[in-house]
């Protein structure tokens, strides 16, 4: 009888711990918007945009060319690039969008991590 009680107690304890753990995970404040910069699929830099305090420039240089990336509190963009089509520059700021900034000629991608309000973006 005593042994059964111990088992019941153990199971209850596990359930309580599991519930507490899921509550913690589920109610944790959303992770800051993290921008990830990839070249050719390789992560070259990760920046928490909510922790950017002042304007900062970050240059990605590869054999293919150069992209100057501008970081500001809460947002990121390609400021200039020596690619022929300039699509990455024209894409403007990335702040809450589900669509990444892509520089196809330089194989550069800037993506926002974490949950966005949208599942995808057409355009």
């Amino acid at each position: 009888m005593v042994k059964t009680k111990i088992w019941v107690f153990l199971i209850l304890a596990i359930l309580v711990i599991a519930a507490a753990a899921s509550a913690l995970v589920l109610t944790r404040p959303a992770a800051g918007r993290v921008a990830r910069i990839y070249v050719d699929g390789e992560l070259v830099r990760e920046v928490d945009l909510d922790r950017v305090a002042a304007q900062e420039r970050y240059t990605v240089r590869t054999d293919r060319g150069e992209n100057v990336i501008l970081l500001e509190p809460g947002r990121i963009r390609v400021e200039s690039a020596d690619c022929p089509d300039q699509i990455c520059v024209k894409a403007g700021w990335l702040a809450d969008s589900a669509a990444p900034i892509v520089c196809l000629p330089h194989r550069l991608v800037i993506e926002l991590g974490g949950e966005t309000e949208l599942d995808a973006e057409a355009g």
Binding site: A91, S97, L118, A120, E121
Partner: protein, 330 residues
Amino acid sequence: MRRALPAVCLVLALALSSCAPQKRTASFFAMDTFMELTVYGEESVLDDTRALIERLEGELSVTDPDSEIRALNQNGTAELGEDARSLLERALEICALTGGALDITVYPVVRAWGFTVGEYRVPEPEEIAALLEKVDYTRISDLTLPEGFMVDLGAVAKGRASDEAVRIWGEAGVKSGLMSLGGSVYAMGTKPDGSRWRVGIRDPFSDGLLAAVEVEDRAVVTSGGYERYFEENGERYHHIIDPKTGYPARSGLASVTVIGGEGTLCDGLSTAFYVMGLERALELWRSARLEVEAVFVTEDGEITVTEGLEGSFEPLGDYKNAEIKVVGRG
């Protein structure tokens, strides 16, 4: 009680572990764009999808020296595999449906503008006039091109890739998946929780969003002149060339988004609608009873949506209070 213990543990283990298919994602460059895939299913589905898209690219590319389309453009005729042949036939149907607003033979003109390689230039009017002689999809017969003609399936290739991807996802038992093939979106099924996918539509005038649409088993494809363009002497020239004039389309639209079950059709129609302009596009939508919905944004910032989107179209940001015109099939 003791005897029931293993059973209790088993039930608990099952309840605590999730048996839902796992979320898997992949992204890669293909078809001159960046592609992102999300499926709830097996990892092998993503590998198969990527292989499928790369196969289609290899067959359909207009620049790859080994592609079937390249061979067709060089020789006027070619041994086409099933993929290239069926897409060429479907593309020609969409060209006919849109009265040539989509014309897959416009490629020589697009190339002259430099949009194929990103080395932009404004061709002389004489050059455009001469190239327009080689633009007319109705002159393709038996999948054979007249002398000097070239086809480019770029306006429908990503749409077809999404249709084929959805087909293999279905065969693999996937119930929930999403892809963005360079901004051509296909949302398969619903999200795993049963709710519809929320797909954003880009604001053609800023780097923000215009609206969100909630969809299930739908392609969402936007065409606009706002992304791929260049400026010369204060003029802006975008990449969607009107096959009738040889110049960037000026129809009064800033962007068109087409939503429907067939990615290939949505892809082709978004380009055609953009070239046609609001009035002509709506006329075609009504008269041909096209099984798509659409969102039109004019250069004046006016938004028109087709009636099937009522209830699933939600303006965002600066557009939250904008007046939205809803049009019916009338």
